[in-house]
């Protein structure tokens, strides 16, 4: 890697050179230039050597380092090394990789060079990287859960036994005396440990709909829909055996849910 050190204080430049050698003895410091004028002259040479990276101090002998960008077409990535933090914003406007405050800390220097290498590889690969891990994480945090696994099974404790009920077998849920029950297509009624609100979150909304405060019905279970009165619908649910007395409660679609219900049916 060919490197240029633009620094007006000799000792500082030597210290930086020492650190670079420690990091990678293969790094070649092509020159140490103490002023804007000297740097412009060096960069303007017709046979100017190829540069990979530039370390630039801002307060130079004759002017501030940014003048170099005004007077040449320096495209090489730059790591700024300076005692002044007030130029940080300006550094962003030119090809800055990093901004290190003096006295330069070796660990920070290494981090800056690693950053340069990572960026270089990214740009050299030609196209934009297929995966940008940071962006993916951000999208995951912000966006809706894409692959929600809807609840496909209920494990219900009955006495000492645990029964497994497939959601596909559930005709509807209802609320009675503050307990929620599921009713299967075999007309098996079992209590569940979720509120109807919670179930609405867990279940596939294409299959289940909360028609009223007490009932959540599945689409396949609806046999007939009656217009009960203006603004109220009555549902007959498809069950192999008729309802018992207990859960013979008629299922109505409440007025406020009518529009959503029809929309749901339409899907």
């Amino acid at each position: 890697m060919n490197v240029l050190i633009i620094e007006d204080e000799n000792l500082t430049a030597k210290r930086l050179e020492g650190m670079l050698t420690k990091y990678d003895p293969a790094i070649r410091v092509l020159a140490q230039l103490p002023s804007v004028a000297d740097t412009v002259a060096w960069l303007s040479q017709p046979d100017a050597p190829a540069l990979d990276l530039v370390f630039m101090d801002i307060h130079l002998e004759d002017d501030i380092g940014f003048r170099i960008f005004e007077q040449t077409n320096l495209q090489t990535p730059v790591i700024f090394t300076t005692a002044y933090d007030e130029y940080m914003v300006q550094a962003f406007k030119v090809n800055s990789i990093d901004y290190l405050l003096k006295p330069i800390n070796y660990t920070e220097l290494v981090a800056a060079i690693e950053k340069f290498k990572a960026l270089k590889e990214q740009f050299n690969s030609g196209s934009t990287p297929a995966r940008n891990p940071d962006l993916d994480t951000l999208l995951q945090l912000l966006g809706p859960a894409r692959q929600t696994a809807y609840k496909d099974r209920f494990m219900i404790t009955v006495g000492t036994k645990i029964r497994s009920i497939d959601t596909a077998d559930i005709a509807y849920f209802y609320l009675e005396e503050r307990i929620v029950f599921l009713v299967t297509q075999d007309n098996l009624t079992l209590p569940v440990d979720y509120s109807l609100d919670k179930l609405a979150q867990l279940l596939d909304p294409r299959r289940f709909f909360r028609v009223s405060r007490q009932f959540m019905v599945s689409l396949p279970a609806i046999q007939t829909i009656y217009q009960f009165s203006a603004g109220k619908l009555k549902l007959d649910l498809l069950l192999p055996r008729p309802h018992t007395e207990r859960n013979a409660a008629q299922v109505f679609v409440s007025g406020d849910r009518m529009t959503d219900f029809k929309e749901w049916l339409g899907k």
Binding site: D62, D63, I64
Partner: protein, 135 residues
């Protein structure tokens, strides 16, 4: 160095401090910068000065001027009459930010509390001169 604004220090003390400061600046800048002190021992013993006056003036010179091996910056400290003169060759840096002048104003104010003789500032294209009344 904790000094109140209305205090004064012997000139000898201040100059000793400047020598130490000069030592550090030489390490930093090498042959690009120097401070030359031309004050007799007798004068050093006899007079006082507001503390850190000289340090501020030297610092200002470094801050505002270019310096290189080809164009070294030099601060010259000497005595004229009963004034201490601090003079440097002018090689202004073409920075966009202009000096606020707070440092110089601070010196002027402090001396106004100590003596009726004013601080003189003279500048032309080549040199910058500050004359400080010796107390």
């Amino acid at each position: 160095m904790e000094q109140k604004d209305n205090e004064r220090v012997p000139l000898k003390t201040e100059l000793a401090f400047i020598q130490a400061y000069r030592f550090l600046l030489n390490i930093r800048f090498g042959n690009k910068f120097d401070v030359v002190i031309d004050v007799s021992e007798a004068v050093q013993q006899r007079y006082s000065i507001a503390p850190l006056t000289l340090q501020l003036l030297v610092e200002n010179a470094v801050k505002h001027n270019r310096m290189s091996a080809k164009e070294p910056l030099q601060v010259h400290i000497f005595v004229v009459g009963n004034c201490l003169v601090v003079q440097n060759n002018r090689q202004l840096r073409p920075q966009s930010e202009t000096s606020t002048g707070v440092g110089l104003q601070n010196i002027i104010n402090r001396y106004a509390l100590l003596t009726s003789s004013p601080v003189h500032i003279e500048e032309n294209k080549e040199t910058f001169v500050v004359q400080i009344p010796l107390i």
